[in-house]
Symmetry: C2
Subunit: 922 residues, 2 copies
């Protein structure tokens, strides 16, 4: 910018469009400068479509205006005048001409669609003089005055309103008064004379508020309108919108000055909007509305109820049937041209169709997938009907957003029922899908209720969940927490299972004693029904009907019938394409054989993270773990571990079988020991009794395990270094399990992963134990099992010293959850108190626990890969943090050369798609 | 090594020395290969000193031997034989010659002195045959048999002992039996025949344990001895020693084979050791011992009580006076030659002086400083007597260890009293000096007792301290904690004040209820006297007398008389030299005017870190802080802050005045808010009463402030972003204070520092507030105050994105405490549970909170400086973590181009010295 403003006279700020390719100066590629609307108008003009001609003032002019205290850049005004003169010459009309005036609309348009900015001023150029010429030339007296009163209203409201307080309402009041006076029910019932009277009234209203008469110089009207558009870029509403929607990097808005066409010139005129295909279901059928004898604002403002587009063919005047056909043809042409369904605006002026705008249509995930599949296969997935093929498979894959597939995977509410349901709170959409059930407050209650009656549906409601709650979480239909973020325990576990979860619904006041939850004045009690929409974060009172996902039925539950469902077919098609194009592997995170199997069915090519400690909580095992923790000597610890060994070995056998032929990365114990002991007095007493110890000893040990910052405490490989016998037992369980299943012809590829390594010496220490235990077993059993020893890279220092660590590590797995915590200095359990402010103030563009922070944490990932491979060129690198299932993060992983990403089973298809997109774009 | 072993035949493994420069193949620079002893023997031979000739087998041979299963490198044995032949030729004696045998000693010697390895075998070459030649040639029958029995004993114990269990004791028993038999009281009373008898007995003892006769082939004796030395390098004791003393990077030990000289040839022979100067006090006076008619081991083993070296001049035989003069002359020459006081071994054989070894002498910090000052100034600092000038000032500075100055700064125990005192526990030497007082368990008690009687001496004994305790900590003579490490709250605060502190004395069991502390079977109660040696970490029962440091008297207490004390003069001299040579600035960390003044007196050139929150605890302020925390609205928070404003402003005025003309870096509030609220029910009630709030509300807010990982929680700039009014108030206090003192002609240079920044946007947000508030005040007051806005670099991401952050930051200060925590993933409050294992297992070479981890954390510091200066070439960079006072870390800081280091006031002289050393070496 700095350079450009130095020689502003040479810079082009105003671009002409219309009258075909020859005269049009822009195209669709110039969105950054012309805005979306301007670029598409130019593109349509280039394509020879009927676009009312005009010109676009560039976003760069807006940027200059914003930065230079509302001054235009040098040369802009001259260019504007020159383009206006060209427009006047080519249309044969002149702005403000009392005989045949050119009327124009002025519309904002940034590079992406953005509510909150000044939208539209229509009919600009009308004055007390030019109105006569307009009426004379068109013969439309009533339409003329209707245009004029609309113009005064819009100009007053939109252009002058922000500085004077004048609003549309001020005019509406007068219109109503006039309608009452003449007994007119609808606006259209007002006669030309009545509208003329209204114009006079409107001008008085204008003068009262603005303290100046309504401007009669069309150039002044135009100048003020341009300023208003520019000014609205920095309006509070627009800023807020950009903040909320994380819109960054735009210069400003463009201003489109377009020749007016009139949908309000009687019964052969009209205006409307339409999607070229259904944006909700994805069906290949236009979804639009129109109004006869109206200007565009009427459709949007809802003054009159518009008709469905298809009704056009039933209008009494056969002209409309023709118009419909023309419009459909243009819509089809636009889809082919843009290779994407469009959202268009059109006006019909006395039987002539004009296209005012086109843009890529917005849609649901389901519709997005259907569009992509149908546009590329040329076949309706539901009806089987043939369609034109518009896209190649690669192009189709690129039209999808990362999370579109998600909507195919989870049960969803019946849309109409959800619309009517009572919202009681909102939280973070932490686990996908819909969940309906009775409120329970304790995990053991949830387990017990479902244990007694397997059709019982419960929702577990907690301040937050802990590893002890997993049984109840699994039993529940959904989980609702009042604290915690997108990566809280509840959220991570729920997503891992594809289970519905809403986290951090802070309006909930949970009272465990009374077993009630209060929101505002509402109190719900245990047993009351609630419904959670885990995709939006909304909590509803009562039961909303749901429908299951055919994809999950087919994939995870092996329901063969579900494979015939069109939604499954779409999923399958996208997945097949993903696998065809992607070059990076996708694994799954799974701790249990059943999760591993689901991940594999969803296309995972191995396990990227199997957390051994999750196995420690199940059933009786926790008691062996606790015995270990309370033990006073190495011998006593080994005795306790000996009880765990066969159980762990059994788990690993199950996982190895489920992943036959695929690699399985097993992480040694990671969490601090205090997570395995109870903190309540009653539970400690129980523990003392079971372990035959004085309760004081239990209490003392629990206290001793307390840490100020457990995240940075005695955990990960630090446990294996202080208690090497733990590392011995786990290695033994893994390798013995591998040997056992290998005998049963299972192909097993264990990768033993040491967590929380920050220095090569830590890995050396653990790897020495692992390799010596493993070699001994393999030799004793005369087995041929091959295994790898590698490490998590999750501590900044590990990435910084990856060249050294790679001397001992045969693979790296980036643990970007912890790496993000330490690189940012953010405890993800505690960011709730400041993250909202950070996102609001745009201090962070997104939650870095959801999307990998490429600029900071990503530097360490890239450094880790690069340095690691300097030492060991064939070093296998993957990622096993939550980011492995986030589309943007997956793309980053591909860019920095990871061999695989790993994510929860239900995100595997999403990761596969993102990996394909990354490979195609590259 | 790999390359060298490929052509081993060409490699030189055995180096000759003796007979002057012409024949000597090594020198003092070759310590890595010849070991310290071998290199110094060669160096002395080169200098023409009387050294018994011999040869040295290199450390590289030892390394090869260790790695290749006890094989010599090819060529070594041939070289050894050739050098032996040369030695035989030049001495005219032959090993094992029955007429005139060459006897040798075999001694280990690594590059640094290291106990635990095989030490010495004397008289090697004696056999049943050669003993006759020896006696015949020397005429010393008794000495001959004495040598032989010593040889059998040493060879059996040292060479064969490790593999057979034979020990010195096995021989001692026989010696005693023989002495009893003949009624001999002392060894020297045994006659030649009796000793001959003893040799036979010894050989039998040998054969019994070794199952082989005592070897009669001298080459076999030599080979076995060399193997024993090589083998001892990997002995458990030697490994342990290297571990404990963090000795790394050595190849192995060398083996010195030296012609024997005999101190046991009657009354004109003798042996001894001496320091050239006193290693305890530093006085320029030899400190040594000798024995007449003895071999070296007798001095060391303490069989006979040696005499003080000076007594030599009083021996009846005037020969000894001459010997003394010769020895003194050689010692003086060695000091000049090595430019450092020496620790020598010598033997006098029938009136001829031989030097057997020399090495740099070990000494106390006090002695080290005295040596440096006296050797460079040529004047005794106590007596004023002239001495030869041996060193330049630069050389003198380089002889000092970083912490030597520390011993000059703190009160110390009277040495004799301390020796006799009863040790009750040990902990970490967390705060320097000596502290004596009565036990108190509560900070408020400490304050109250000293408040009532200012001569009351108390020691505050706590599990750990917290910011609420600072009043009592200040009042106490010393602080003793049972948990926490070198960087725990107690340790950091105590060091900041130069106060005695022992942390983590885990044997203490403190019972606050009974007000007792139990160690093992001892129970001490409140009011009992204890004494702490903060430099060693030892806790004593009772009162030990102390003496104050004249340096502190002079510098910190302004006692002019103390400036005349020689210790002060030495301190002053070293400090002056430090300032002359160093190029990096040294600042101090200080929160209060009195600390700032002390730091300045110790030579600080500004404040590198003024922690504003420490001011929040004093007196009534805490109530305003708590009101702020409990407030429900921004207005209420601003009201509470308005009470703090004048107090903070007053503090800053005091600090600015104390640092007139020097820059003051003020860090905005850093700790999480929960540090300011009480966690006990009683205190919360008090708080509720004072603030006029329901106690539930207080309890709820305290609970809400609880964090899982407060280190990574809502603190630092995150507070200023969620509560911008806090940033406003602090800026106001700083800038208003600056304007106020400026009017009083104080030159004020405030540097406002934003803590815990991880992203440029965070700093932008805070800097915008700071600059707008500051500019407004400066403009209103028509002031000319200049200020800077900068940031801590203490989060890994800040270092990674330093190029961006430097766009907003005018200076960087590396907060290496937190940076170390996050880069390693270590909570310094919690490392106690695994750090000891990490140091033991050599997983970490040192505690990274004490010495900056150059390889990991240091990478981020270097990256931060480099990237920051890419954006802003003149970016001022400093360090304000605890590392700023650690000599090695200071050197690192200089290397990476920091402009200054900042440390606690009492470490400023140490940092100045380290900075000087860094600049000289560079």
């Amino acid at each position: 910018m700095a350079k450009q403003t130095k020689s502003p006279a040479k810079k082009k700020y105003v671009f002409f469009y219309g009258f075909g390719k020859k005269h049009t100066e822009g195209d669709a590629s110039m969105k950054a400068i012309l805005g979306g609307k301007g670029a598409n108008l130019a593109e349509m003009a280039n394509a020879g479509l009927p676009v009312p001609p005009g010109f676009t003032i560039s976003t760069e002019a807006c940027a200059y205006y914003s930065k230079h205290n509302s001054q235009y850049p040098a040369g802009m005004m001259e260019q504007l005048k020159a383009q206006l003169a060209k427009l006047e010459k080519m249309t044969g009309k002149k702005l403000g001409d009392p005989r045949d005036p050119l009327l124009v609309s002025v519309r904002s348009g940034a590079a992406i669609s953005m509510p909150g900015m000044m939208d539209t001023v229509l009919n600009l150029g009308l004055t007390d003089k030019s109105i006569c010429g307009f009426i004379e030339k068109t013969g439309q007296e009533r339409a003329g005055w209707d245009c004029y009163r609309r113009f005064v209203d819009m100009f007053g409201d939109v252009v002058m309103g922000p500085s004077t307080g004048l609003t549309h309402h001020d005019f509406e009041v007068e219109m109503q008064r006039l309608k009452d006076k003449y007994g007119a029910k609808e606006d259209t019932a007002l006669t030309a004379d009545q509208l003329k009277e209204l114009v006079d009234i409107y001008k008085r209203v204008y003068q009262q508020k603005v303290k100046k008469p309504f401007p009669q110089d069309p150039m002044e009207q135009l100048r003020l309108s341009v300023n208003a558009v520019f000014g609205s870029w920095n309006s509070e509403r627009a800023e807020k919108y950009r903040q909320i929607n994380k819109v960054t990097g735009l210069l400003g808005t463009a201003v489109n000055v377009c020749t007016m066409v009139f949908g309000n010139m009687g019964s052969t005129s009209g205006t409307g909007v339409s999607f070229t295909r259904d944006g909700a279901t994805g069906e290949d059928k236009p979804m639009g509305e129109y109004l006869i004898n109206a200007q565009g604002e009427d459709v949007v403002a809802g003054i009159r109820t518009p008709k469905h587009l298809e009704e056009m063919v039933n209008e009494p005047d056969p002209l409309w049937k023709k118009m419909y056909a023309e419009l459909r043809a243009i819509m089809a042409r636009l889809e082919r041209h843009y290779k994407y369904p469009q959202d268009v605006e059109f006006t019909i002026e006395q039987g002539k169709l004009w296209m005012l705008q086109t843009r890529n249509a917005k849609r649901t995930g389901l519709a997005g997938v259907r569009w992509a599949v149908e546009m590329a296969t040329g076949r309706d997935v539901f009806a089987g009907k043939a369609q034109p093929k518009i896209l190649s498979a690669k192009e189709a894959v690129l039209t999808l957003h990362g999370n579109d597939l998600e909507q195919l995977l989870f049960p969803i509410f019946h849309i109409e029922e959800e619309k009517k349901a009572e919202v009681i709170a909102t939280g973070l959409p932490a686990g996908p899908g819909a969940g309906v059930g009775k409120i329970v407050f304790y995990a053991h209650d949830a387990e017990a209720m479902v244990g007694k009656n397997k059709d019982e549906k419960v929702i577990l409601v907690r301040h937050e969940t802990s590893p002890e709650d997993v049984g109840g979480m699994w039993a529940a239909q959904g989980i609702l927490t009042s604290t915690g973020g997108m990566t809280s325990h509840a959220a991570v576990v729920a997503r891992g299972w594809g289970k519905c979860c809403i986290a951090g619904a802070s309006a909930l006041h949970i009272n465990y004693d009374t077993r009630t939850v209060t929101v505002g004045h509402n109190t719900l009690k245990e047993g009351d029904w609630i419904s959670l929409n885990g995709s939006t974060g909304i909590v509803y009172r009562g039961q909303i009907g749901t429908q299951a996902s055919p994809v999950v039925e087919a994939v995870a539950h092996g329901n063969k019938e579900a494979r015939k469902h069109p939604i499954y077919k779409m999923y399958k098609q996208v997945s097949d394409w993903s696998d065809e194009f992607r070059k990076m592997k996708v694994r799954t995170n799974a701790d249990l054989p059943k999760d591993a199997a689901v991940g594999r069915e969803f296309g995972a090519e191995g396990i990227g993270l199997c957390r051994t400690e999750h196995m420690f909580f199940e059933g009786e095992r926790i008691w062996a773990v606790r015995e270990f923790i309370l033990a006073d000597s190495k011998e006593a610890r080994e005795k306790a571990l000996a009880k765990l060994l066969p159980l762990q070995r059994g788990d690993f056998e199950g996982i190895f079988k489920a992943m036959n032929g695929l690699p399985v990365t097993i992480r040694l114990i990671d969490p601090p020991l205090h997570e395995f002991v109870p903190h309540g007095a009653r539970e400690q007493e129980e523990m003392a009794t079971r372990l035959g110890l004085p309760v004081e000893k239990v209490a003392q040990r629990v206290k001793q395990l307390h840490e100020m910052n457990p995240m940075l405490g005695h955990r990960g490989c630090r446990l294996s270094i202080t208690y090497p016998e733990l590392c011995v037992m786990q290695t033994q369980a893994i390798i013995e399990a591998a040997c056992n299943v290998e005998k049963k012809k299972v192909k097993v590829l264990p990768e033993i992963m040491v967590p929380l390594v920050g220095a090569k010496t830590e890995l050396d220490y653990c790897a020495r134990i692992i390799r010596s235990v493993a070699e001994r077993i393999i030799k004793d059993r005369k087995s041929k099992v091959k295994y790898l020893v590698g490490t998590m890279i999750e501590i900044p220092r590990a990435a910084l010293t990856a060249d050294q660590i790679a001397e001992s590590a045969e693979f790296f797995s980036f643990g970007t959850n912890d790496l993000t915590q330490m690189t940012f200095g953010f405890s993800r359990d505690d960011i709730g108190s400041f993250l909202p402010a950070y996102l609001n103030e745009k201090i962070l563009p997104v939650d870095p626990f959801q999307t990998l922070d490429a600029g900071g944490v990503g530097q360490l990932v890239e450094m880790g890969v690069k340095r690691g491979r300097e030492t060991r060129p064939d070093l296998k690198c993957g990622i096993c943090g939550e980011h492995g299932g986030d589309p943007n993060s997956v793309k980053f992983c591909y860019k920095v050369g990871l061999n695989y990403v790993s994510c929860s089973p239900y995100r595997v298809p999403i990761a596969r798609l993102a990996a394909a997109q990354a490979a195609i774009v590259r």
